[in-house]
C-alpha cells in the first residue's frame, strides 16, 4: 500500500511520530477492527480509530439512540434520537474519514453469531454494557484466537485489560463467572460520570493502535483501573490461571454460554 498525498497530509502527525511512521500508518489502513457496542466506550473508540485511519471498522449494536445516551455517547447527536446507533456511528465515521470502510451490524452479540462476527477482524474491542456480553466476547475471542480489549465502567471507575488469547491472562482468569443476577449494577442502574467513558474508551483505542502498529507494551497481564474522584490510576498484575475454564491448556468451557444479564434500562 502506498499513501496518497492527501493521506500523507491527513496522517502527518502519525507519520512524523517515530514509532509509527508511514509503515505504521499503512498497517492501520490495512487493519480490521470490530467494536462491539456503540455506546459510552464504543463512541470514543470509534471516533479515534476512524480519525487514526483504521481501514475497516465493524460496529455491532442492537440499540437505537435515546435521550439518556447523549450525556456520554459522544458519537451520537440530538437529531440521531431514534436512529440505530450503528447508523448514527456510520454517518459520523464517514464524515470524519472517508478512508474508513464501515460495517454497521444492527444486532446484539449472542452465542450463535459472535464467532462468525469476529472471525474476519484482526482485533476486537469490548464496549458492551453487560456481563453476559463481556464473558461471551472473552470466551469467543479465546476460542477464535482473537486479541481483544476488555473495558468496563461504573460510576466514577473504569477498568481495562488487553488480552492475547492463551498468551496472557483472560477476563475469566480474573473473574471465573458472572456475578449472580442483579448483584451488579450496570450504568443505567448506578450512573456513570460521562467523561469516565471517554477516559476508558481512549485507553482502549490507544491499545488498538499500539497492537496494530506494534508500538510499545500492551496492557496484558495488567488490569488498569482508575477512579475519577481521586484521579488515582492503578495497575494490578495478574496472570493466566492454570485452571482457567477457557484459556488453560485443558479448558472445561468449550461451548459459548448466553448468561442472563441484568438489563440496562433506566425506566424498568
Amino acid at each position: 500500500m502506498t499513501l496518497r498525498d492527501d493521506q500523507i497530509e491527513r496522517y502527518s502527525r502519525h507519520i512524523i511520530l517515530g514509532d509509527v511512521g508511514g509503515k505504521g500508518q499503512e498497517k492501520l489502513l490495512a487493519a480490521k477492527v470490530l467494536i462491539i457496542g456503540a455506546g459510552g466506550l464504543g463512541a470514543p473508540i470509534a471516533l479515534y480509530l476512524a480519525a487514526a485511519g483504521v481501514g475497516t471498522l465493524g460496529i455491532v449494536d442492537g440499540d437505537c439512540v435515546d435521550m439518556t445516551n447523549l450525556q456520554r455517547q459522544v458519537i451520537h447527536f440530538t437529531p440521531d434520537i431514534g436512529t440505530p446507533k450503528v447508523t448514527s456511528a456510520f454517518n459520523k465515521i464517514r464524515a470524519i474519514n472517508p478512508d474508513v470502510t464501515v460495517h454497521p451490524i444492527h444486532d446484539m452479540v449472542h452465542s450463535a453469531n459472535i464467532r462468525d462476527l469476529i472471525r474476519d477482524y484482526d482485533f476486537i474491542v469490548d464496549g458492551t454494557d453487560n456481563f453476559s456480553a463481556k464473558f461471551l466476547i472473552n470466551d469467543a475471542c479465546v476460542m477464535e484466537n482473537k486479541p481483544f480489549s476488555h473495558g468496563g465502567i461504573l460510576r466514577f471507575d473504569g477498568q481495562t485489560m488487553t488480552v492475547l488469547p492463551k498468551k496472557s491472562a483472560c477476563y475469566r482468569c480474573l473473574f471465573k463467572q458472572p456475578p449472580p443476577k442483579n448483584a451488579v449494577p450496570t450504568c443505567s442502574q448506578a450512573g456513570v460520570l460521562g467523561a469516565v467513558a471517554g477516559m476508558l474508551g481512549t485507553i482502549q483505542a490507544a491499545e488498538v493502535l499500539k497492537y496494530i502498529t506494534g508500538v510499545g507494551d500492551l496492557l496484558t497481564n495488567r488490569l488498569q483501573t482508575f477512579n475519577a474522584k481521586s484521579m488515582i490510576f492503578r495497575q494490578v498484575t495478574v496472570k493466566q490461571q492454570s485452571n482457567c475454564p477457557v484459556c488453560s491448556s485443558s479448558p472445561t468451557l468449550t461451548e459459548l454460554v448466553d448468561y442472563e444479564g441484568p438489563v440496562c434500562d433506566l425506566r424498568s
Binding site: 457496542g37 464504543g42 445516551n69 454494557d129 471465573k176
Partner: protein, 68 residues
C-alpha cells in the same frame, strides 16, 4: 496486623478469613469482588477457608459491567 489492600497498607484484626476481611472492610456486595492474594486469584470457595496473614498483599478486583 498489617496487610496491603489495593496498594494501601492497612491494619486489620488477626485471624480473619477472606470472607471476614470483606465484611470487615464493609464491601457492599462481596459477590462483585474477585480477590487476588499475593498474586494468585482465589477460587470463590476458598474465601471461607483462607486466612489472611501478616504482610499479605490483597487486591479486590471489582466487576465493572458498564460500557454503554
Amino acid at each position: 496486623m498489617n496487610v496491603t489492600i489495593n496498594g494501601q497498607i492497612e491494619q486489620i484484626p488477626s485471624g480473619l478469613t477472606i470472607v471476614g476481611l470483606l465484611a470487615h472492610k464493609s464491601v457492599e456486595m462481596p459477590d462483585m469482588v474477585s480477590v487476588e492474594l499475593n498474586g494468585e486469584i482465589l477460587d470463590r470457595p476458598a474465601f471461607d477457608t483462607t486466612l489472611v496473614s501478616e504482610g499479605d498483599s490483597l487486591e479486590f478486583l471489582y466487576f465493572m459491567g458498564g460500557g454503554q
